[in-house]
């Protein structure tokens, strides 16, 4: 007995190769012969109730990290105690984040953590805004500063700084998955997008303008952010597949939702357990979105076929008539461009991609998606998680989804308020970051009375959830605190980069330039490359960024030349500290404090000073051992 098998995907499949003669058999079916196999969905509700893992893991990491820090009593005192109707350590605020979070915590009878100490906050905000730890001087200056506005002044100082530009250029590079597909190892497409983003971050270009530039780009792909449109199309064979791939990428990136599921099949019968919104949408709806790209040409050009030119035509159409390629056959003729999410159309005489950019950037989901991503960067988990899997039918608190679904955001009102704020600010990224960074909720301590802590509190941000440092942050912290910056070569750049965070892409440091650009006595580019990959940098393409630990990371922090070579360097911190002690320019206590400040971005506790002040006088090797030990402490690896 024969049975048509190809269209019966239970797990959502993005791209499907088609066995052409199946088409006729498939079309004989009037109804999808689809059932939930017993082995697949024994209990659909169980699947829904198990979504806490991201939050739970962060909660457990936060507990572990908090336990590794010196006891609170040694470094700070609780600011206030809870009275009914009030929140400890909280002053009245107009910040919309605080209003929603603290009133919700009070309603739920969840006690928020105390505020972080000044030095904790200083390290935290430096890492989140610039990817770097504060220098000892800056940290101590902040701690000693009596100005009541010192927090917001520090935030203002950091926003727009050189470190901020590097860090947020990298962040936007991750968001837009900037990697090169140029054949000639020139990195030309990636570099063009990198330079565009760096300029946009430097000038605080409105986010809607950035996205419009990405979607409407025309010209050679190394003259701006054109690689963004070309990359998804790179492995396709049919125009319709290329349009579909680009559409999926645009939706994921700028709307944080994944219509890719319905690029192969209707939502019905597939997505009931996954995404309520798309479960009611049809494949033809997806085509309507793809049709906005149907008047885009990609032309391979250049003497070595090394360039791609993106241009527009006025007569291209999305015709659903394929029998081949990467997806099941398409039937249905010419598809009118129709914005999937609200039915918007192309205006008369309007370029199709201009129309698409207009519709996307005016969609409320556009702002929601972005504010959630930025919020997640500061609060470790987003208001919606996973951050690129929004379910648009589960966002409205006034119109909650039917059981067993729940609202997707932890704070649905706040999500909309942040989106509105962002939209009203003119999509001002710095204003959004400033709002988040200045909130008292962001400034809470990661410590908590663990006997009272419950994992579900994490979702409501009752304490600061810790964030594992990114690969670039780890390497840069090692370089900075050992007084030996890197010198990393990058494709298409004659200068080297001293900071991993500043690198234009994830292909770096470039291995083939070992002898040309890297000064002697510098790091082996392969060792650096491997270190960054071990710490989860990913490749922005197939390997996504990861914050997992690994045995490789343990070996790296134990024994890598990047670290061993630095701590034992004659110009390194241990040698210099030893000399300072020998010359009696510092007391042992001061030396211990300086070592901690440089390496961990915090002062040692009284106990730590007391136990280590005798060890630190034993010479450079002993100090190097201590610095090595601090690099291998848990709090080095986390922003807490």
């Amino acid at each position: 007995m024969k049975r048509v098998i190809l269209f019966l995907f239970v797990v959502v499949v993005a791209v499907t190769l088609v066995f052409p003669t199946q088409q006729s058999q498939a079309s004989k079916k009037t109804k999808l012969p689809f059932t939930f196999g017993k082995t697949i969905f024994q209990d659909p509700h169980a699947a829904l109730s198990n979504k806490v893992d991201i939050v739970g893991e962060v909660s457990r990491q936060t507990k572990a990290l908090a336990a590794s820090l010196p006891p609170t009593k040694e470094i700070s005192k609780p600011v206030a105690t809870l009275k009914s109707g009030s929140t400890p350590g909280r002053v009245p605020t107009s910040n919309i984040i605080d209003q929603d979070i603290f009133s919700t915590l009070a309603t739920k009878n969840i006690l928020p953590a105390n505020p972080a100490t000044d030095e904790e906050f200083c390290r935290r905000i430096f890492l989140d805004l610039t990817g770097r730890q504060p220098s000892p001087d800056r940290l101590l200056k902040y701690v000693g500063d009596k100005d009541p506005d010192k927090k917001s002044k520090l935030i203002d100082e950091l926003i727009g700084s050189e470190g901020y530009i590097d860090r947020w250029t990298q962040w936007f590079g991750d968001l837009t998955r900037n990697y090169t597909i140029a054949q000639d190892l020139s990195g030309r497409d990636r570099n063009a997008q990198y330079l565009y983003l760096k300029d946009a971050v430097t000038r605080n270009k409105p986010y809607n303008q950035i996205v419009t530039d990405f979607i409407t780009f025309t010209g050679l792909y190394d003259q701006g952010p054109g690689g963004f449109l070309v990359r998804p199309a790179f492995n396709t064979t049919l125009p319709q597949d290329a349009y579909d791939e680009i559409t999926a990428e645009i939706s994921r990136t700028f709307l944080a939702t994944q219509p890719v599921c319905i690029s192969c099949h209707n939502g019905e019968g597939h997505l009931e357990q996954v995404n309520l919104y798309f479960s009611t949408r049809k494949r033809s709806d997806f085509w309507g979105l793809s049709a906005f790209l149907a008047q885009t040409n990609f032309t391979i050009t250049g003497a070595q076929n090394e360039l791609v030119k993106i241009s527009n035509n006025t007569n291209g159409e999305y015709v659903a008539n394929t029998k081949d390629g990467l997806r099941p056959p398409r039937t249905g003729g010419t598809i009118e461009p129709t914005y999937l999410f609200n039915g918007g159309k192309v205006n008369r005489g309007e370029d199709r991609r201009v129309a698409l950019a207009r519709l996307i950037t005016s969609d409320p989901q556009f702002a929601r998606a972005f504010v959630n991503r930025v919020f997640a960067q500061f609060f470790t988990i987003g208001l919606v998680e996973p951050i690129d899997q929004f379910d648009l039918a589960r966002l409205d608190p006034n119109n909650p989804p039917p059981a067993p679904w729940d609202l997707q955001p932890s704070y649905p009102v706040l999500l909309d308020q942040l989106a509105t704020f962002f939209q009203k600010s003119g999509y001002d990224v710095q204003a959004l970051i400033r709002l988040i960074a200045n909130s008292q909720a962001y400034g809470l301590s990661s410590r908590y009375d663990e006997s009272k802590w419950k994992e579900e509190y994490a979702r409501f941000y009752a304490r600061k959830l810790v964030r594992r440092l990114q690969a670039e942050e780890v390497l840069d912290a090692i370089s900075t605190s050992t007084f030996r910056p890197g010198a990393y070569a990058a494709m298409g750049f004659s200068k080297t980069f001293s900071s991993a965070m500043a690198l234009p892409g994830i292909e770096e440091p470039l291995l083939s330039t070992v002898s040309r650009n890297v000064p002697p006595q510098s790091d082996n580019p392969y060792v650096v490359y491997k270190f960054l990959q071990d710490f989860g940098r990913g490749d922005r393409n197939t390997v996504i960024r990861s914050n997992s630990g690994s045995i490789e990371q343990a070996f790296d922090l134990f024994n890598s030349d990047l670290l061993i070579g630095r701590i034992s360097n004659v110009n390194g911190l241990p040698t210099q500290l030893a000399k300072t002690l020998q010359d009696k320019k510092a007391t042992p206590e001061e030396a211990v404090a300086y070592l901690y400040l440089m390496t961990l971005g915090r002062q040692p506790s009284a106990t730590e000073i007391d136990k280590l002040k005798t060890k630190i006088t034993a010479g450079p090797e002993a100090i190097a051992d201590l610095q090595w030990a601090l690099f291998n402490r848990l709090d080095f690896l986390y922003n807490y």
Binding site: K38, K51, T542, S550, I551, F555
Partner: protein
């Protein structure tokens, strides 16, 4: 330590990722050439929820991925045509079927040690997606990319409870330039442990100033950590767990020696990335220190251009490289005693598989073969596999499965290969995990991409 070889292969790997100079961005418009049209073979209506009994015939699984996708009609499913160069030496092997004895002479003599499945079908024609499919047993869904683990991570999870105190190696080891997946939503303890310098050893196993210096530093760390209460509730991400495991490995002298490859073995396996990887993998299996899933990759099989030329990444050279290394591996595993079975080969299930097949018949204009999904082959050995068999067949061109080779009424797909791995390792492949970030239930073997409710062990292998 990181010689030119290492860097050059990494760069070469990058070049491969870019689809090869021959295709380049032309794939936007051209891509793989139009395939021969495949006869459709549909499945019978399967029973749902049938209890399965894993075979449990192996302790280890070795997955060898021929990255790029070898031309099946020039290798495991040999078809002779007027395009076939004489140097391939197409002739009967020791098991009596046509084999490229000119470029795989050693394996020709050992055909009774392995079996070939020729009725495989693929659904992917792009390397990235095909290799992802091989690693995970399911097709790439961008929405779930972050959570889907490599099969090796699932095996490591399953075998965790059986780990002995002497099992200091990670459960899953990877000899690969760039696998696409890792532990996914599973604990990072089950992530692939990557060996980047096969034949040399583990990166940063010891500091440049030696074990004594390490011990001194470790004492300092203990002292510093003891000043605080330390990491109390260890999480699955807990860094101290990884530190402890790394310390155990670096302090065990066996760790360093396991990854060394002797001069004799460099000759026997080939002094190249693949040969050294396979020789190291053999050492790891022989060491029996807790690693039971190993992936080893051979690069270069994406022969779009001048496939029969004599460059290092053209088909004849790759065949020879594979032949040398793999035949030595079969010999060595066969000569090593097993823990439960007579030989190490008996208890190690080996799968050799490429991204997909390549176009059949005469060569393309570029004198190569392009990506082809409708029929391809894989090689199996050890772990209870009866050697010398050919399972399934293709039509005269090698374009489409003809005899399916098993009792199920559809071609064999990757979920069935994965099912067979699980079966030999004694793992119930119908198991599911529910605690995924997306809430999607994760099935160990997931046949939904092929539209079937069940996947099946390739029973005729045994």
């Amino acid at each position: 330590m990181y010689g030119k070889d290492k860097q050059s292969w990494l760069l070469e790997r990058r070049a491969f990722l870019k689809l090869g100079a021959g295709l380049g961005l032309g794939s936007l418009l051209l891509g793989w050439s139009n395939p021969a049209r495949a006869e459709i073979i549909n499945a019978t209506s399967p029973s749902i929820g049938t209890a399965v009994t894993p075979r449990a015939s192996a302790r280890n699984c070795l997955l060898i991925v021929l990255r790029g996708g070898p031309s099946h009609i020039d290798t495991f499913d040999a078809k002779v045509g007027n395009w076939t160069p004489s140097k391939l030496g197409m002739a009967q092997n020791s098991a009596g079927y046509i084999w490229p004895t000119g470029v795989m002479p050693q394996l020709a003599k050992r055909a009774n040690k392995f079996s070939i499945v020729r009725s495989l079908q693929h659904q992917e024609v792009v390397h990235e997606r095909a290799e992802y499919y091989t690693e995970t047993g399911r097709r790439l869904n961008p929405g779930l990319r972050a959570e889907i683990p490599h099969i090796g991570a699932v095996v490591a999870l399953e075998q965790e409870s059986q780990r002995a105190s002497t099992d200091i190696f990670p459960g899953f080891m990877l000899f690969s330039g760039s696998a696409y997946t890792n532990n996914g939503f599973l604990s990072a303890s089950f992530a692939p442990f990557a060996i980047d310098d096969p034949g040399v050893g583990i990166n940063n196993l010891l500091p440049s100033d030696g074990l004594i210096a390490f011990n001194r530093r470790r004492d300092a760390l203990k002292m510093v950590n003891d000043l605080n209460s330390g990491e109390v509730n260890a999480t699955r991400q807990s860094f101290s767990v990884f530190q402890d495991q790394a310390e155990k490995m670096l302090k065990d002298p066996m760790t360093a020696t396991t990854f060394l490859v002797s001069d004799t073995d460099r000759k026997r396996y080939g002094n190249n990335y693949f040969g050294l990887s396979l020789a190291s993998a053999r050492n790891v299996l022989k060491a029996n220190r807790g690693t039971h899933f190993i992936e080893v990759d051979q690069y270069g099989w994406d022969n779009h251009v001048n496939i029969y030329d004599d460059g290092p990444y053209d088909l004849p050279a790759l065949c020879r490289q594979f032949d040398t290394a793999f035949s030595s591996l079969l010999d060595d595993l066969n000569d090593s005693p097993g823990i439960k079975a007579p030989t190490l080969l008996d208890e190690t299930f080996i799968v050799v598989i490429g991204d997909f097949g390549r176009t059949v018949g005469p060569l393309t204009q570029s004198k190569g073969r392009d990506h082809y999904p409708y029929a391809f082959s894989a090689m199996f050995a050890g772990g209870g596999v009866k050697g010398g068999r050919v399972i399934g067949s293709t039509d005269d061109a090698g374009a489409v499965p003809k005899d399916l080779g098993w009792s199920n009424d559809r071609p064999i797909h990757l979920p069935d290969v994965v099912t067979t791995m699980y079966s030999t390792l004694g793992i119930d492949w119908t198991k599911t995990l529910t605690n995924t970030p997306s809430g999607r239930i994760y099935r160990y073997a997931d046949p939904t991409a092929i539209g079937d409710d069940n996947s099946y062990e390739i029973t005729p292998l045994f």
